[in-house]
Amino acid sequence: MRTRIKNGRVIDPANGIDEMTDVFITDGKVVAIAPTLDQFNADQEIDAQGLWVIPGLVDLCARLREPGLEHKATIHSETRAAAASGITTLCCPPDTSPIIDTPAVAELIQNRAEQAGYANVLPIAALTQGLKNEQLSEMAALKKAGCPAVANVGPLANTQIQRLAMEYAQTHELTVFINPVDEWLAKSGCAHEGKISTHLGLPGIPVAAETAAVARDLALIELIGVKAHFTRISTARAVRMIARAQYDGLPVTADVCAHQLHLTEMDISGYDSRCHVLPPLRTQRDKEGLREGVKLNSIQAICSDHQPHEADAKLAPFCSTQAGISALETLLPLTLRLHEENGLSVIECIRRITSGPADILGIEAGRLSNGSAADITIIDPQHYWRLNEDTILSQGKNTPFHGWEFQARVTHTLLKGKLVYTLE
């Protein structure tokens, strides 16, 4: 099968490409990026006149709910939504049921994704068995089963176990994903501790719940030298701490959820449960600090933190609702908004959702190099559209961005050279 994507603006941050040219694909692989290619008889041509051709997006954190919570969503339903959102590689956090702490679960997830055929799914393995923070998981076997990294979910209170887990992960050259939360400071909070939580009477999560955890783990990273990735950071202070550590030469990276770059604590006034997320939406200053971190490349990736829910999960008083946003469909448009709102160049916006996250994982995806898998997204930069919660493809309709107008829309998504989505 030979495919030619013609006349598009090809933007590939990893290879420094931004030009009007064609992409040639043979048997699922990129074979050339050039205006012409001799002796190439395309079976299929996609006219990308006026469109952008970019690497398929890589999302570092998306809950697909399978196995275990299929009433919320399935690998099939969510990878299909991912394809429509231009995402071709998704990382699934280990808190499925059963937890991703055995090769069997890791393989099951990848098999289901392969059967569905819409996107690559990479399971992130649990750092400890059952995520109980007691016994280390079988990291060598999990790596062999396709897990590119190991992660905690929620707080890891015991510093000694964290140290040992990091040392063991380093032994097997696995990146440790850290969701930095101090268990005791965060308690059962559901909002940023500040004037809004005080006003609404909601239990707060202070900034220090994040920075205390970052500080502790930076000390361990310095001790061990393990490659570590702080995921879903929410505070400006943590960005500065991580930037400082990077400056000092520690092997650390970071990502932020797209919604943290656009919403603040103000959005929960009125008890809007769609804005109940963890870590919580923080202040305007934090939002600006996170945007600055993205701009200065202290934050190398933007993730969706996709958490689809059934309607009932959000129908209760604020703190009793389940946290999370159905976010696959907004990852690309919210990231591209940073171009206009934050002066981030288009190529840097795209880097944060393609090669940025791919490099954190140490995988080939997120770039259009010769010989790499033809995971490609084509977008119409002039297509204005309004997000409607009822028509989003994810099984979870829980989004606070209902009614937002976005620019740029995915028109085609190719996975290994095969069209998996075409805009009607």
């Binding site: 500040g194 004037k195 005080t198 009477g201 707060g204 009125g270 129908l315 703190c319």
Partner: protein, 326 residues
């Protein structure tokens, strides 16, 4: 926040002081004034809510608040249903929304709701049928607006003008829905100075943004005070490392006649009840001449009658036969 007020600016639900202007708050106080007379008659009943069914829906235990709501409803001639939903019943599976739907199916007219979650009353008001009024009888650490209104009523009876008053709230501000509602009501009524007094562990983050001054010492806090509101200290605050002991709390924040000397000579002392004697204040103060604690309880009935009748009036006027308009 416009959930509470209809298109004509009248009260539909009573969920929080936030979002209500001074006119509505004053209207509630004035209406309550007219009901004080009723509660002092030998036949303590008016037929304003005859034929209406009011449900006291309490997801958290309460004696005093529930009882005064019940009395208020009965004195308005409404039928009252008391439902105490223990926490265990809700964890057994029925969601709050299911509970609500079932009660609506019984053709009820008003829910008086107490719930452990902040925002529960807003949630119920935004998900109940349009003819139903919701009165917040306390939600989490968010609001307890009828308590605040009865406190304002009590203050106004003793100190007619709010603008030159120094009002001090002492105690567990962090967990207190009463304090939050009082602060909002005092601000709406233009109180001169509002202070909160507690150790750092019991002061919520950025409380100053609500328009209060924070004091950590009782003496500076109650200096020249006109009104001193002592909050109840829940026993469970002694766990969780918020305070070292009741003894030390009383030593530092307990109100005694001697300490009251720095307040204005005609200062009044209030407490939403029930009092822990020897923790928040000693008996001499609780039973003393400056204490208006029992008046708060009696006025509570009139204030709740006012809120209930006003919320119902906005519904009845839709059909043009509001009894209070006659």
């Amino acid at each position: 926040m416009n959930l509470q007020v209809d298109e004509n600016g009248r009260l539909r639900h009573f969920l929080s002081i936030n979002g209500l202007n001074r006119e509505i708050i004053t209207d509630i106080l004035d209406t309550a004034e007219s009901f004080v007379g009723v509660t002092e008659q030998s036949i303590k009943k008016v037929p304003l809510l005859r034929g209406k069914t009011i449900v006291n829906l309490f997801f958290e235990p309460s004696t005093r608040t529930r009882t005064t709501f019940e009395l208020a409803a009965k004195r308005l001639s409404a039928d009252v249903l008391n439902i105490n939903v223990s926490a265990s019943a809700t964890t057994k599976g029925e969601t709050l929304l299911d509970t609500l739907r079932n009660l609506e199916a019984m053709h009820t007219d008003m829910f008086v709701v107490r719930h452990i979650d902040s925002g529960a009353a807003h949630f119920i008001a935004s998900h109940s049928q349009p003819h139903i009024s919701v009165i917040n009888a306390g939600d989490g650490a968010h609001a307890h607006p009828t308590q605040a209104m009865l406190d304002m009523f009590t203050i106004r009876r003793h100190k007619p003008h709010f603008h030159n008053l120094n009002v001090v709230i002492v105690g567990d501000i962090l967990h207190s829905r009463v304090a939050r509602s009082q602060i909002m009501a005092l601000n709406a009524l233009g109180a001169g100075e509002i202070r909160v007094v507690a150790p750092r562990t019991l002061i919520p983050a950025e409380i100053e943004a609500m328009g209060v001054q924070v004091h950590h010492h009782l003496r500076s806090g109650i200096k020249d005070a006109d009104v001193i509101i002592m909050l109840r200290l829940q026993n469970e605050r002694m766990q969780g490392a918020l305070l070292p002991s009741e003894h030390e709390y009383f030593q530092l924040y307990g109100l005694t006649e001697e300490r009251l000397a720095v307040a204005k000579p005609d200062a009044i002392v209030m407490h939403p009840g029930p009092i822990n004697r020897g923790v928040e204040m000693d008996s001499q103060v609780a039973d003393g001449s400056r204490s208006v604690i029992l008046q708060q309880v009696s006025y509570g009935i009139a204030v709740r009658m006012a809120v209930m009748s006003m919320a119902m009036r906005s519904r009845q006027n839709d059909s043009g036969d509001g009894p209070l308009e006659n």
